[in-house]
């Protein structure tokens, strides 16, 4: 029985790579040539975007709220830093090991985090991140404490591209890693597995009643999200060759949430757009008025959450849908 024309089907249309998406990634790659002096900032935006994507996986797609996602970012950052400091300078394998370390911490903390309701989750995630922060602070012989981890040296990427002062290698390396992980995340959320996560977010009781192993799914997505966050942290370490204690700070977790909400949850791109807006606004406002920039950031956040409920990307998607409907009506 063939009831649907495959390529026209809404499901197939959603999964297909759209022109806008290709333009998005080409535009990011073009930054390398157009803004060669801003590559350091651009790399940091990409890293923050990947970090926000990791949050989107649990918050946007599985409905798990958190105020302590910096825990996994920080574990990844320190893992990569400590490896490099103690002689393991090869960057790609460093990323893998950092991802594993974060995944392990994610798995261990999932027992605490996934237990309760939303409020309990906010508190346990906050608590875990605070514990790790203080642990890194106290273990200054190992981590450098408040002074940060110094003496991180990273070998050439693939033995060819050495990290330079202008951030050229850093940008290219970051872009390739982030894009590769994005492709994986994109395939994942569009897969039957991703569908089951959406079902859980929509109605957990019913999801169980159609046979979804609820807890196992949430644990898995939490581990994957932690691993993604760990890679983001490791990228920051490798591209800056330094680990600051604030990789584990509450401020980082809070900013992350702000970025994702500004950009829009459950859109995959929301994290990147939100990270770009956040960091560019921060950059601009801080240079105009270094003391009061938070005021305008607060204003922006209120306006977006009140008038663009699904963030910038969500708003764009709704506008696009309306435009199509209007055109179809004509």
């Amino acid at each position: 029985m063939s009831l649907l024309k495959r390529s026209d089907h809404p499901l197939a249309r959603r999964e297909r790579w759209k022109l806008g998406e290709i333009v998005f990634w080409v535009a990011i790659a073009a930054v390398y040539f157009v803004f060669p002096k801003s590559l350091v900032l651009a790399s940091q935006i990409l890293i923050a975007g990947l970090f926000a994507l990791s949050l989107d996986l649990i918050l946007g797609y599985a409905g798990i709220v958190t105020l302590g996602h910096a825990a996994y970012f920080g574990v990844g950052a320190y893992a990569a830093g400590l490896l490099a400091k103690h002689g393991w300078t090869e960057p790609v394998s460093g990323l893998f090991i950092a991802a594993l370390a974060s995944a392990l911490v994610g798995w261990l903390s999932s027992f605490l985090v996934l237990r309760g309701g939303d409020l309990a989750r906010l508190m346990t995630t906050l608590g875990i991140a605070a514990l790790l922060y203080e642990l890194a602070n106290r273990a200054s012989p190992i981590t450098g404490g408040v002074d940060g981890l110094q003496g991180v040296e990273i070998a050439k990427v693939l033995g060819v591209f050495g990290f330079d002062l202008y951030g050229r290698t850093a940008f290219g390396y970051t872009l390739v890693v982030v894009f590769a992980l994005f492709v994986v995340a994109r395939a994942w959320v569009n897969s039957p597995y991703g569908l089951s996560l959406r079902a859980i977010r929509e109605n957990p009781v019913r999801a169980r009643a159609v046979g979804v192993p609820l807890h196992r799914r949430l644990v898995t997505v939490y581990i994957v999200s932690a691993a993604f966050a760990g890679v983001a942290g490791a990228l920051l370490t490798q591209t800056t060759q330094f680990v600051a204690l604030d990789v584990l700070s509450f401020q980082r977790s809070a900013n992350l949430l702000i970025m994702l909400i500004i950009g829009g949850t459950a859109t995959l791109y929301g994290g990147f757009v939100g990270a770009a807006i956040f960091m560019l606004v921060q950059n601009q406002l801080a240079s105009i008025n270094p003391t009061y920039w938070l005021f305008y950031l607060g204003l922006l956040l209120i306006v977006i959450t009140l008038f663009l409920r699904r963030g910038v990307v969500g708003g764009l998607l709704i506008a696009r849908e309306r435009w199509f409907l209007k055109r179809a009506a004509r």
Binding site: H9, L11, A199, V210
Partner: protein, 253 residues
């Protein structure tokens, strides 16, 4: 014939309040069994114990002879025990096709590879998508397949409740008041759906609409105060003076 679903002295109480008292039910394969009783008789509580939402205080639930009393809800679905909900419990922003396809994927997850399940798009897993389409078509939902669930008419959502349960290819199906919220006398469409359900599935129907119950069931159990009052054929039940007493003024026909 051996029972596919059986309860043995099932008891449950909330504090001092006994909501299920020594219930012994037995459904044979392909059974059309109805569970009736006045409001508060403990019908939904019983369904919740059968499906693993609530844990009984004592007694056992057996599926095909195996004790499933301590099994999690999703594991019971995997073993072929599916249910619908009295109040629509659906996925508001998923389309019916997405919802049933999700259920089909869960049923088949033991036999599909990790790559297919985790990295291949839903639309490219064609076997499951086709099955979902076909299932919706047999229930008359094919035209609603791609409309978000929350935009569907109430009656359509009631049918989707059943479609979701059927996607699990159950051996036992528990229908918790499928006609709830549908005006009396307008349940014909729903009966038509119930009538087409595969004959080999054992069905336990919980329903207030007596017209529907007496057309559908070949055996009826009356539950009062959490305990079984009587079990018998529709004719026995209609003639039973105790049942008449319980339903006094509610008119069993």
């Amino acid at each position: 014939m051996t029972a596919i679903l059986e309860t043995r002295d099932l008891c449950m109480s909330f504090g001092a309040l006994a909501v299920t008292q020594n219930v012994n039910l037995a459904l044979e394969p392909g059974a059309r069994h109805a569970l009736i009783g006045p409001n508060g008789a403990g019908k939904t509580t019983l369904v919740n114990q059968l499906t693993g939402v609530l844990r009984p205080s004592s007694g056992a639930v057996l599926l095909d002879g195996e004790d499933i009393t301590r099994l999690a809800a999703d594991r019971r679905v995997q073993r072929g025990l599916a249910r619908t909900f009295q109040i629509n419990s659906l996925f508001p922003h998923l389309t019916p096709l997405e919802a049933v396809t999700a259920a089909i994927h869960e049923r088949e997850r033991a036999t599909t590879g990790v790559v297919m399940r985790c990295l291949r798009g839903v639309s490219r897993n064609r076997v499951q998508l086709d099955e979902g389409q076909a299932l919706l078509a047999t229930l008359g939902l094919e035209r609603d397949a791609d409309t978000p669930t929350h935009e569907l008419a109430y009656g359509r959502q009631r049918v989707l409740e059943i479609a979701l349960a059927l996607a699990a290819k159950p051996r036992v199906l528990l229908l918790d008041e499928p006609a709830a919220g549908i005006p009396e006398g307008e349940s014909d469409e729903l009966f038509a759906v119930l009538d087409t359900l595969p004959a080999d599935i054992a069905i336990l129907l919980i329903e207030h609409d007596m017209g529907l119950v007496f057309r559908f069931a070949t055996r009826i159990t009356v539950l009062v105060g959490g305990a079984e009052l009587v079990t018998g054929t529709p004719r026995d039940i209609a003639a039973d003076p105790r049942v008449r007493e319980v339903y006094l003024g509610q008119g069993v026909h």
